[in-house]
């Protein structure tokens, strides 16, 4: 089995590993690096559970090979809280407003939402639903997710002003 060495940055920390070219980034994150917050759903780019940030942009990690990520800068759900004892405003609001039930889709949704709030600090409901259309949730019916993202936006904006 021929492997290649990759070095990359995840959540501000350097990681490296030897990977077979066919290893999906999702499996590299979970199995090799122990970052199991990234969930594996459909493995063909439909469900959005494995969404991570690649150079700040949400992408499907099941449609990337780990070998392609040499030198990349990634963020996974483990990296969104400011420290070990505080939650990110999005996490805070998802918890408070029941933005999750089983939680399987939540990591992908949090990363999509984080990128959304960076690009559009005060998104409309239509914009939130447009961004969320790439993340499937089979429990909640999305309403509480939308509300939680709106409230998180309000919290971030009022903390700034």
């Amino acid at each position: 089995m021929s492997t290649r060495q990759v070095r990359l940055r995840i959540n501000g920390r350097e990681y490296s590993g030897a990977v077979e070219p066919r290893k999906l980034l999702t499996d590299f994150l979970r199995d090799d690096l122990g970052l199991t917050g990234t969930h594996v759903g459909c493995e063909h780019g439909v469900c959005g559970a494995c969404t991570i940030l690649w150079n700040g942009e949400p992408v499907r990690s099941c449609l990337l090979f780990a070998v392609q990520m040499n030198g990349a800068d990634l963020k996974t759900v483990e990296g969104i809280a400011p420290n070990a004892t505080e939650l990110h405003p999005l996490q805070e609001k998802f918890w408070e407003l029941h933005g999750l039930q089983c939680g399987f889709c939540t990591p992908g949704i949090l990363l999509t939402a984080e990128a959304l709030l960076k690009e559009i600090p005060n998104p409309s409901e239509v914009e939130i639903r447009e961004w969320l259309s790439g993340n499937l949730c089979r429990c909640t019916g999305y309403q509480n997710i939308v509300t939680a993202i709106q409230e998180a936006a309000n919290a971030v904006n009022s903390a700034k002003s």
Binding site: R4, E43, H44, G45, V59, R60, L63, V67, G134
Partner: protein, 294 residues
Amino acid sequence: MKPAKFDYHDPTSVDEALGLMAQFGDQARPLAGGQSLVPLMNFRLIRPAHLIDLNGVNELSYLRADDAALRIGATTRQRELERSPEVAKRWPLLRDAAAFIGHIQIRNRGTVGGSLAHAFPSAELPVAMVALDASMVLGAKKTRRSVRAEDFFLSYMTTALQPDELLLEIAVTPLPGNAGWSYQEVSRRHGDFALAGAAAVLALDANGFIHHARLTLTGTTPIRVRKVEESLLGERPSEALFGDAARRATENLEQDSDIHASAEYRRGACAALARRALMQAAQRAAESVKGTLR
């Protein structure tokens, strides 16, 4: 649900990539954004022996607009096309079509050239490029050739690309003066594969008569309905004219039946979308004429 083994190549220049394509031919697949290729590999529907990753070929990623054309490097991300102010201003049809591709998470990685080379029947960019009369620059190790979009798409997921060729660039000329445009599609949910789509470009003269018309529909491959286009020239835009044109354009349109929709449904939807696209393009063209006369 995991891909079969392959040898991975990561060229950093077009020459290097074309050298690898020449070496491995139909044993190799170029990998651009991977948003269609990797699902096929994960399902093991395809098992290329060699994967030639174009993501490190920086010279293939660009958007350059001048008076003559918009030039799009093949690995330019779809999201860049969607976000470009220049594209929004001068090629809004392209921006509108791009916004329908999958979801933001797909467009962040998916490339313009990848979608075109994959040539999936319900894909947005092939229809848009045919409607815009784009031309494709195809390269092999020792040759370069330019193919019109209409001649690039041959049939279901089949293009004019030879096994050793790569799509390098797409060139899109500006719309004629006082032109209106429209891109329409219908899918079960936003971001799903389109069940039907239509793109129209219309230009009116100062008296409100149509002097330029293009209509392209989704089928098993993008279809430019030239006979219908010609029949619109010299006419005044009206619901009746466009309703009749849409009906004629879709009468014998080849469509597939699958789990999502029957061929009959797709033909009907194409007709409705063609009519709407022509109406909207005519409205925009009329506004543009008014703006010029003022």
